[in-house]
């Protein structure tokens, strides 16, 4: 066993951290306060660090990171700006990667180079009545010559308003349940595609979640991603990877809240000494740090399994479940350590507290993760065989 990062991974981590601290951190408050999508920051990330193509093969201009390195980058972005982190994570894992893995040669040539340089991708699976229960979706696509006609309404589309390309999942066969789902690549501005107003959220405010309306939206058959009926499989395979991403984001948030708490505990005086000298504070810090460390290694382990080509569904769910709950726990304690100042926006921990909360919800709620873990675990122990 070896828990160390490779030299290359350490360098990557340092590079992203330095960039995030110097270039990104000063911009966070402005965009968060305005709930504005930070397009210039995203474009700079693509240009300066190549982070638009983390899962894109080099032949299409990507940097093609291994999953552990990917988790490291996501964690570092989460530490500085959770909204930006999810924007980048969605773009790469359920945008670029889906096309790299399932796209036709034409689709790859057409889209991947653009997504590495000046485009943003989005992923659209959920509907108002179909969240965890994907098969309940109602949006449809009907074949019409060399086109499909898409109709329906999708929601919770991260990057939805700004995306230049969205992977949209709809039913091509409404009788076939999960097997009737097909994925399409839909470009911004396609007639019949209307983007709704972004949801007003508790946290990750600079990341947009929108409703997409499809009204006789005509898409060329060549824009179908994979075969008809393969959509569910495509979406589910990437959910495991997406969970590593959200797990890494949660670790980054927790790490940031912990760092700020340690700093504050060293500085803040009460009753003639720093509050870090009180056991009440020490206890919180110890529990926070232990959970952060455990969460980080669950995330790395899941990513490592993926890289090794081994099954990692249960491990990804465990990483996501544990890390997201650690993030809410740690950011909650961070506010407590900061006292009243933690409740003001100036100290940032209230933002981490709000931002952390979503990690227990998206990419499969904690309840879905527990379901996955329990089912897999029971199956590994001969149940339901």
């Amino acid at each position: 066993m070896d828990f160390d990062l490779t030299e290359e991974q350490r360098l990557l981590k340092r590079t992203v951290r330095e960039y995030a601290d110097s270039e990104i951190a000063p911009q966070v408050a402005r965009y968060e306060d305005a709930s504005e999508f930070p397009r210039p920051v995203v474009m700079a990330l693509w240009k300066d660090l190549g982070l638009g193509g983390m899962y894109c093969p080099e032949e299409y201009g990507g940097i093609d990171l291994d999953p552990v390195s990917y988790a490291i980058v996501v964690e570092e972005l989460g530490r500085v700006w959770p909204s930006l982190c999810i924007i980048v994570s969605v773009h790469n894992s359920v945008g670029v990667q889906l096309i790299a893995e399932h796209g036709s040669p034409e689709q790859k040539t057409k889209y991947l180079p653009r997504l590495n340089t000046d485009w943003v991708a989005a992923f659209s699976l959920s509907e108002a009545g179909a969240g965890s229960d994907v098969g309940a979706m109602r949006a449809t696509a009907v074949r019409d010559g060399d086109h499909y006609v898409l109709n329906g309404e999708k929601n919770w589309v991260t990057n939805g308003q700004n995306a230049d390309l969205t992977v949209i999942f709809v039913k091509t066969d409404s009788q076939a349940g999960n097997r009737g789902i097909t994925a399409f690549l839909v470009e911004k501005g396609t007639p019949g595609l209307t983007v709704g107003r972004p949801e007003r959220k508790m946290g990750i405010k600079a990341s947009e979640a929108v409703v997409l309306s499809l009204s006789d939206c005509r898409v060329p058959a060549a824009s179908r991603l994979g075969k008809e009926g393969q959509g569910f499989k495509i979406a589910m395979a990437e959910l495991d990877g997406g969970r590593i991403g959200v797990g890494a984001q949660a670790v980054g948030i927790a790490e940031a809240a912990l760092e700020r708490s340690i700093r504050y505990a060293r500085e803040r005086q009460a009753f003639g000494r720093t509050i870090g000298e009180f056991q009440a504070i020490q206890w919180m810090l110890a529990d926070m740090a232990t959970r952060v460390e455990a969460a980080r290694h669950l995330v790395y382990r899941a990513a490592w399994l993926r890289r090794a080509g081994k099954p990692y569904t249960r491990e990804a769910s465990m990483a996501k479940l544990y890390a997201s709950e650690a993030a809410t726990f740690v950011s909650h304690r961070a506010i407590q350590i900061h006292g009243g100042y933690g409740y003001t926006v100036d100290y940032k921990v209230e933002q981490y507290y709000r931002d952390a909360r979503v990690t227990e919800i998206y990419e499969g709620t904690s309840e879905i993760q527990r379901l996955v873990i329990a089912r897999k675990w029971l199956a590994e122990h001969g149940y339901g065989a």
Binding site: D2, L285, H297, A374, L378, Y383
Partner: protein, 380 residues
């Protein structure tokens, strides 16, 4: 980064599992019931070299990594937690400091028989008035020519009634605080050394824990481990390694409880289907699986860092804190999943529940672990 075990580590784990499942598990309820020290188990561990796993081969050990030790500890403890702690004390708390601080004479004379499992060791730090606050210990060692004369009382000494060799922390300079503590190797047959009654404990009932009374016990100066005054350092650095052992023991107990609950959930039917189909049960299983694995990663990480020679106090404390907590929670859920059957002795989970609790107490309570972690975080 590599989360896989190598060939040797897998072999050790499998060997330990086979021994534990075949030989120890069938008797662990009896060990608990009768509170009898499992001497046969210890003999079998010795045959495999598991009583001195990390000790160099030239001193009678198996020369294995700390990770291999952690893996074996988990397996042994999953079958019999009492046997686990006996093994942990001999390996982590006695052999380890003897190898690190002992001179060749001491290694030859004391370490080798312990590592081979011919003799059994005990670590004597705690006193009635000095538990977590170890520097306040009062047992005194007064130099008289080429001997020390030892007086005082030690308690909660694991392996206390059966050990052949004691590592005893004494004050050689009562004025010097923690710098006045020295470590003496004391033979169990020494004149003036008496053993108290075995403590009647809630769990790990096969482990022999008792008080030791020293009255004018004469110990040759050559039995002093390290320099005079270095005892506190020896004690604390030893506990770091011990925490990996106890974390692994906690993992073993937790895993046994989780496996029992997993099995029961599939067999037990309510409302026409196995309770494994109910989300209430699935939730408990999912949390147990996740917490156990998180704690295991922390434990294995601490073991790997230990072998690199880097400082690992904080990592060992995190491992012990997380693993002991997970063990207690998992055992608690296992009882809950079993319902009323979890409360009776026909099922093993009530024993796991009792055994798990000790892991939050010994080799540093959870409070001490948090103190160690917090100090490391706040260090400028």
């Amino acid at each position: 980064m590599d989360f896989s075990l190598n060939e040797e580590e897998r072999l050790i784990r499998d060997t330990a599992r086979e021994l534990a499942e075949k030989e120890f598990a069938p008797r662990s309820a009896e060990v608990d019931e009768t509170s009898k020290f499992p001497a046969d188990n210890v003999k079998k561990l010795a045959e495999l070299g598991f009583m001195g796993m990390n000790v160099e081969e030239k001193w009678g050990g198996a020369g294995l990594s700390s990770l291999a030790y952690a893996l074996a500890m988990e397996e042994i403890s999953a079958a019999c937690a009492s046997t686990g702690v006996i093994m942990s004390v001999n390996n982590s708390l006695v052999c380890d400091p003897l190898e690190r601080y002992g001179n060749d004479f001491q290694k030859e004379t004391f370490l080798a028989p312990l590592a081979r499992g011919e003799k059994l060791g005990a670590y004597c730090l705690t006193e009635p008035e000095a538990g977590s606050d170890a520097q306040n210990l009062r047992t005194s060692a007064v130099r008289e020519g080429d001997h020390y004369v030892v007086n005082g009382t030690k308690n909660f000494i694991t392996n206390g009634q059966v050990a052949d060799t004691y590592l005893v922390y004494c004050k050689t300079d009562p004025e010097a605080g923690h710098r006045g503590i020295s470590t003496l190797i004391i033979d169990a047959k020494s004149k003036g050394l008496e053993r108290g009654n075995k403590e009647n404990t809630m769990g790990i009932r096969g482990s022999s824990t008792c008080s030791l009374f020293f009255t004018n016990v004469r110990v040759p100066v050559e039995n002093r481990l390290g320099e005079e005054g270095s005892g506190f350092k020896v004690a604390l650095s030893t506990l770091d390694g011990g925490r990996i052992g106890i974390a692994s023991q906690a993992l073993g107990i937790g895993r046994a409880a989780l496996e029992a609950a997993t099995k029961y959930a599939q067999e037990r039917k309510t409302f026409g289907k196995p309770i494994a189909d109910l989300q209430a049960i699935q939730w408990m299983l999912a949390d147990s699986v996740t917490e156990l694995d998180a704690a295991r990663l922390l434990t294995h990480r601490a073991a790997v860092i230990k072998d690199t020679g880097k400082r690992y106090s904080s990592e060992a404390s995190m491992a012990k804190l997380a693993a002991s907590r997970a063990s207690v929670l998992i055992a608690d859920r296992a009882v809950q999943i079993h319902g009323g059957y979890g409360y009776i002795r026909e099922y093993p989970v009530e024993r796991y529940y009792r055994d798990a609790k000790i892991t939050e107490l010994y080799e540093g309570t959870s409070e001490i672990q948090r103190l160690v972690i917090a100090r490391s975080l706040l260090r400028p």
